[in-house]
């Protein structure tokens, strides 16, 4: 299990300090600072190629920045591998769905739980005592907390690749939640969804963020400005690897610099409503 959170609401859970990330001579991130407070939904917006996904990858450890530091709950995690960060409570979903297509929904979600299961091969194969308890607890957690929350009862035994895109997105969120994260990185969770699916997904994100059981801090990369402005506590604006501003949705919407930077970028403010 994740170590008991000693942070309180409003404390800094994640801090990026002067993070630089180069690909050859292209600066994907040029000295970015970001501070995420516990309990927030912190959105990252910016045009295509601004470096949003690179930022996500740096936070979760897929990329290691050339310069700068990343602190998670006050601890420097810059040099930790992705799975080490995952066991600290950082979980994520991907812009392009990264599920195991040939496996069932339930198996995909269970996989997210695997990192917290302690029993070894031998005790696992005889299934007694602690192992049994652990398995039962994992089952209870997945069924009662995740499947019920995401309303995917009717597809739990279906193979993922047979499902429509919108449901696959939901399953991916389920797998990320199985980790029991404290910090959840959501990379374009609404992309490619229809209106109804967008509304459902936005509600799930709010539930995860606000429901007493979860209280997960979320970093959200998203193009649907209607949803971003509706559900975020803070919005971070990124352009060509540089921070333009970081503020409340209202501040961002009224900032002349943001508007200037995106002049002509109409789709940035495009929304489905």
């Amino acid at each position: 299990m994740v170590e008991a959170s000693e942070l309180r609401e409003g404390d800094t859970i994640l801090k990026l300090e002067n993070v630089h990330m180069y690909f050859g001579r292209v600066a994907a991130l040029a000295g970015v600072d970001l501070e995420v407070k516990k309990g927030e939904i912190h959105s990252i917006i910016g045009p295509n190629g601004a470096g949003k996904t690179v930022m996500m990858n740096c936070i979760n450890g897929l990329y290691r920045p050339q310069r700068g530091n990343i602190y998670y709950k006050g601890r420097d995690v810059t040099h930790l591998k992705p799975h080490e960060r995952a066991s600290l409570g950082i979980s994520r979903t991907f812009q392009k769905i990264e599920l195991f297509g040939g496996m069932t929904v339930l198996d995909n979600i269970r996989l997210g739980r695997h990192i917290h299961l302690k029993s070894g091969i031998i005790s696992g194969s005889i299934y007694v005592g602690k192992t049994k308890q652990e398995e039962l607890a994992a089952r209870k957690f997945i069924e009662e907390e995740i499947i019920d929350l995401l309303e995917i009862e009717s597809i739990r035994n279906k193979t993922v690749e047979m499902l429509p895109y919108g449901l696959q997105k939901r399953v991916e969120l389920g797998r990320a939640l199985a980790l029991n994260p404290e910090l959840l990185l959501l990379d374009e969770p609404l992309a490619g969804l229809n209106l109804e699916e967008v509304e459902d997904m936005a509600r799930f994100i709010l539930d995860i963020n606000q429901e007493k059981r979860w209280r997960v801090t979320c970093i959200l990369v998203e193009h649907d400005m209607g949803v971003v402005m509706d559900i975020s506590n803070r919005v971070f604006v990124l352009n060509f690897g540089n921070k333009i501003m970081d503020g409340t949705p209202a501040e961002v919407q009224n900032n002349p610099e943001v508007i200037k930077a995106y002049l002509g970028e109409e789709e940035l403010y495009a929304t489905r409503r």
Binding site: E143, I147, D148, S154, D207
Partner: protein, 641 residues
């Protein structure tokens, strides 16, 4: 053991029977199961008793008095049934609403019924109740069940079922024995349910049913087809439908069989298969759905499986037809049927959740003879039930071994049926309702000297079976002056898996026409196989190939009909008829007068020489949003004039 030994007296009420059964079975028998979080969770009769008692006393401590109405809305869950039983135990009256009722319908029913409490399952229902709060000042409390999404709701009017039960426990401590006392005060003639009928023409009317009505109906049905307390029943159809009340409450309590609640409406089909119920009662659309599912799977399967299916159904149809004609089945056919059953029917029935089924009933609307034959060929004992909400759901049923697919059967005990000179069906039984709530005029028209005027036209055939022709007001006159039932042709059309809904027009007109709604998933799959591109229902419905397909289905239905009754022209509608657009009732019956007015342009075009009609209308989504649709619809001639 069957429960027909339970004597129904005027003193008996549903709560009294409930109490008696709880004492009899206690914690030795499972009263209901609910699938939750992927596991079937049992509740014994003792649990049932405790939950109802606490809820009932809680409601009483919140101010529920004898005769007060409790409105309920939500999916089928134990909590829903407990709420109803709790309301009845306190001497209250239950009012059920369909889960998918639009705001306006909810407001009308809550206001008209003077409901004091509103019991909603989830945040969605609570939202509905909160938004009509101003318009319904008589509503005092909103009780909710599922905490999901309820974290930001702090209104004083809200209270959770758990809190109500806590209040009930306190009440029990203060006044032990109050629950039993409340139950003893009830009498069989008291009203127990206020049922809003679906109303194909006007606003819903509230039918008042007494305990005596409900119990005698269940008793009489069970004396025809006994059930046993070891049986399983799956409760998944809306409680707002009288058929579900009849099986879950009236028959369920008398027989003591186990009720099973599916996890979610979307998982019901799998859950039914897991339970394998012994008895089933559903409206025709459920059976139509199953037939469609089988037909589609058949098209999809391999050559060898298709051959086995074809051969087995041929045998099945032959044997079923012999039985329909009441002729002995020769041993050759009997052994062939055994083979067919072993190779195909048994497995198919298992997939449909029908492997343990003793009796399957259909009712609430007309079912086509083709569907009927289909199930009998599978060896499913499907029987027709005829009745109205006003007679507590049932007056007529097929008897085992005496099933005729074009009739609805013979009256259950204590029930008389007669036909007026105009051909209207009248019935009389102890289950005939007390009248409509706050509607003297409608009561006078429907209830004369204890006879219930059904508004259906029909006749009694040479075997004493009742044949229901159609709703009196729907019966059409053909161009040659003969009467004709549009429903008959519509159910024939709907036997095709490609057709979801059909609307046949032609009263006092030169010829018959039809408006067709294709089944999106099936036709969509057919189009995929044929490499036909489409992006929406609207586009698919207007493809010339799809018109060709629908025409073939119409020609099939036209076969062996007299020429004036044949469909001459048709149009594919750009959407399916929907209850949210008020085109269907909540029990999926077509509201003819309404669609006739709504689609008057289409009707006009069908009776002109035009081959297209321009449409410009609004459709309503489930959450109440509207969208405008502008489109041209093609009209096709089946028979050249």
């Amino acid at each position: 053991m069957n429960g027909s030994h339970i004597e129904i007296t005027k003193d008996l009420t549903i709560p009294k029977l409930f109490l008696r059964q709880c004492r009899k079975y206690g914690d030795k028998k499972v009263a209901m199961r609910e699938k939750e979080f992927g596991i079937w969770r049992p509740y014994t009769w003792q649990d049932y008793y405790e939950n109802v008692k606490n809820l009932c006393l809680g409601m009483v401590s919140l101010g529920l008095k004898k005769g007060d109405k409790v409105a309920m809305i939500g999916d089928n869950r134990p909590e829903g049934l407990w709420s109803e039983m709790a309301a009845l135990c306190a001497g209250g009256i239950g009012v059920w609403l369909f889960q998918d009722c639009m705001m306006e319908e909810v407001r009308y029913i809550i206001d008209h019924s003077d409901a004091k409490f509103f019991v909603g399952e989830t945040q969605e229902e609570v939202d509905k109740a909160l938004s009509i709060r101003e318009a319904c000042p008589k509503m005092e409390r909103i009780i909710w069940d599922d905490p999901k999404g309820m974290r930001n709701y702090t209104q004083d009017i809200l209270v959770s079922i758990k809190q109500v039960q806590e209040l009930g426990k306190e009440m029990e401590r203060r006044e032990p024995g109050l629950f039993e006392k409340l139950i003893t005060e009830g009498h069989g003639d008291d009203v127990c349910l206020l049922f809003y009928t679906s109303g194909t023409t006007a606003l819903p009317k509230g039918a008042l049913l007494s305990h005596w009505n409900m119990l005698t109906m269940g008793h009489n049905l069970m004396s025809v087809d006994p059930c046993y307390d070891t049986d399983d029943f799956v409760s998944y159809l809306p409680f707002a439908w009288i058929g579900e009340q009849m099986m879950s409450i009236s028959c369920g309590l008398q027989m003591g069989y186990t009720l099973n609640f599916p996890e979610e409406p979307s998982t019901a089909r799998d859950d039914i298969r897991q339970i394998g119920p012994h008895v089933m009662f559903a409206p025709p659309r459920l059976y139509e759905g199953m037939t469609r599912q089988v037909q589609v799977k058949y098209i999809d399967s391999t050559w060898i499986k298709r051959k086995i299916y074809e051969l087995s159904t041929k045998i099945g149809y032959k044997v079923a037809n012999l039985k329909f004609e009441k002729q002995p089945v020769p041993w050759t056919w009997r052994s062939l049927n055994w083979l067919a059953s072993a190779f195909m029917q048994k497995k198919l029935k298992d997939h449909l959740g029908m492997s343990r089924l003793r009796h399957a009933y259909t009712g609430g609307a007309a079912m086509g003879p083709d569907h009927f034959r289909f199930f009998h060929a599978l060896g499913v004992n499907l029987k027709q039930i005829y009745g109205q909400t006003e007679i507590a759901g049932i007056s007529i049923v097929h008897r085992d071994g005496d099933v005729k697919f074009d009739t609805v059967g013979t009256p259950i005990p204590e029930t008389e049926v007669k036909i007026t000179e105009e051909g209207e069906i009248l019935s009389k039984s102890p289950s005939v309702f007390l009248g409509y709530y706050k509607n003297e005029e409608a009561t006078r028209k429907t209830l004369v000297d204890g006879w219930l005027y059904s508004g259906d036209r029909g006749f009694i055939d040479e075997d004493g079976h009742l044949v229901v022709f159609d709703r009196s007001k729907d019966v059409m006159t053909l161009s040659d002056g003969r009467p004709f039932s549009p429903q008959y042709l519509e159910t024939r059309l709907k036997f095709s898996p490609f057709i979801q809904e059909a609307w046949v027009i032609g009263d006092k007109r030169e010829y018959i026409t039809a408006v067709m709604c294709i089944a999106y998933d099936v036709v969509g799959k057919w189009a995929d196989d044929k490499k036909i591109n489409y992006t929406s229902y609207q586009e698919l419905s207007q493809k010339p190939e799809v018109y060709g397909l629908v025409q073939k289905q119409i020609e099939e239905a036209n076969k062996d009909l007299p020429s004036p009754a044949k469909i001459r022209r048709f149009v594919n509608l750009y959407k399916v008829f929907d209850a949210d657009d008020e085109e269907l009732t909540r029990t999926s019956k077509l509201k003819r007068a309404f669609v006739e007015n709504r689609y008057k342009d289409i009707v006009a075009a069908l009776y002109s020489s035009a081959d297209t009609v321009h449409m410009d209308t609004a459709i309503t989504y489930e959450d109440g949003r509207e969208q405008r649709i502008k489109t041209d619809l093609h009209i096709q001639d089946v028979i050249k004039a």
